[in-house]
């Protein structure tokens, strides 16, 4: 559990940076930069770990679900 919580570190950093950026370049440009960075890096993560994220076999349905024969 400990290491998984490290992902939250991004939020205070992102929030502080957004406040400073809005005062510097304005609200619209800040939102544009944040969303563009988010979209590009999501795509990059999907490409780099394609085998682990995209090409994994589907999760088996619960045992209680009707099985096709």
């Amino acid at each position: 559990m400990g290491v998984r919580t490290l992902a939250i570190y991004g939020m205070p950093v992102g929030l502080m940076a957004s406040g400073a950026l809005i005062e510097l370049v304005g609200y619209l440009l800040t939102i544009g930069v944040y969303c563009a960075v988010g979209l590009v890096f999501t795509l990059l993560i999907g490409l780099k770990w394609r085998a682990s994220l995209w090409e994994r076999s589907p999760v088996a349905p619960p045992a209680s679900a009707p099985q096709r024969v």
Binding site: G2, Y9, M11, G14, L15, S18, L43, W49
Partner: protein, 331 residues
């Protein structure tokens, strides 16, 4: 707990925005509320070691006491933005770990087959509380003022503490090291678990990819869809606290709809793909939200963004819990 969190965030965020007029100070306030993320790994390991129930009780007792301080300051008219920052920093040390501990409790108590549904149900519960909390917080703050609104926040914190006493106790995990017990032994063991967890994450591609994605989302998506909303309400839409309440509630309502869909359908069979696709949809909707000037269309865009966010986050939480299965408690 989510009622109190949401009321507190909305009431204080609006107070800081109105009193200071500075988006930088609003962002500082939002960041202070997340101060506990610095200690998040240790909270996670302590939760694994001592049990989520004990840790949740301590954290919620602290939140109740600090809310009572703000209530008194508000009622006596001594409240200033500086006090809000001080209390936000203290609350922020424990508050961000509450949701983490809630998810940890799910991992502890629900069998793997039911994790997706359980996470969805937990988020549906939190999202519905967020909708109500935001609307009630905005209404009370507008009608009664901050001091009286904080009477309700304090009551909700105390109620969540009382309810946490009802969570089943879990046996304490025995320390694998045969060294003498005490704070030193716990500290050494916890750091070792954290190190083992880090190694496990770094050597498990699926977990590493999801961790990077979670970090990216926290860095760039959540500030836009939550922390900056008081600024958007005041500057873009020229709305009051009630308008802010509607913006927050709209995002949470979308999230609630998604949680219900995920619980009803049992979730996706390709959770990792779902995370990627819905994260990209979420970003696209946030980008659109940035350009919307009409309040009604803004509400609709946030609702859709909340839906995409919830689908992505439920799938991510379930994937993270599944990918961490069999790992040391430090993962």
């Amino acid at each position: 707990m989510s009622w109190a969190f949401e009321m507190e965030t909305l009431i204080l965020g609006w107070y800081v925005m109105v009193q200071t007029g500075s988006v930088l100070l609003l962002a500082t306030f939002g960041s202070l509320q997340l101060l506990g993320t610095l200690a998040a790994p240790m909270f996670g390991v302590l939760g694994d070691r001592l049990g989520g129930r004990t840790l949740l009780c301590v954290m919620r007792a602290i939140c109740s006491a600090l809310a009572a301080v703000l209530m008194v300051l508000g009622l006596t008219g001594w409240l200033t933005p500086l006090w809000v920052f001080v209390v936000a920093a203290l609350t922020g040390i424990v508050r961000p770990n509450d949701l983490v501990m809630r998810h940890a409790l799910i991992g502890e108590t629900i069998p793997p087959d039911g994790v997706m549904g359980a996470v969805g149900l937990s988020r549906a519960n939190a999202d519905s509380a967020r909708i109500a909390g935001a609307l009630v917080g905005a209404g009370l703050s507008t009608l009664l003022g901050l001091g009286y609104a904080y009477v309700f926040v304090t009551i909700f914190y105390l109620a969540s503490l009382a309810l946490t006493f009802g969570v089943a106790r879990r046996p304490v995990v025995p320390d694998p090291v045969e060294a003498p017990r005490g704070a030193g032994a716990l500290r050494t063991s916890s750091w070792r678990e954290l190190k083992d967890g880090l190694v496990y994450v770094l050597t498990t591609p699926r977990l590493l990819a999801l961790m990077w994605l979670a970090f990216l989302i926290n860095l760039t998506a959540y500030p836009v869809s939550s922390g900056l909303l008081p600024y958007v309400a005041r500057t873009v839409y020229r709305a009051d606290a009630t308008g802010l309440g509607w913006l927050v509630a709209s995002f949470s309502f979308g999230a609630l709809l998604a949680s219900i869909v995920m619980v009803a359908t049992g979730g996706t069979r390709h959770p990792e793909r779902t995370v990627l696709v819905h994260t990209m949809i979420w970003y696209a909707l946030l980008l659109a939200f940035g350009f919307v000037q009409t309040f009604g269309i803004g509400l609709l865009t946030l609702l859709l963004a909340g839906f995409a966010q919830s689908v992505a986050m439920i799938s991510m939480t379930a994937s993270l819990l599944a990918a961490s299965e069999g790992a040391s408690v430090g993962a």
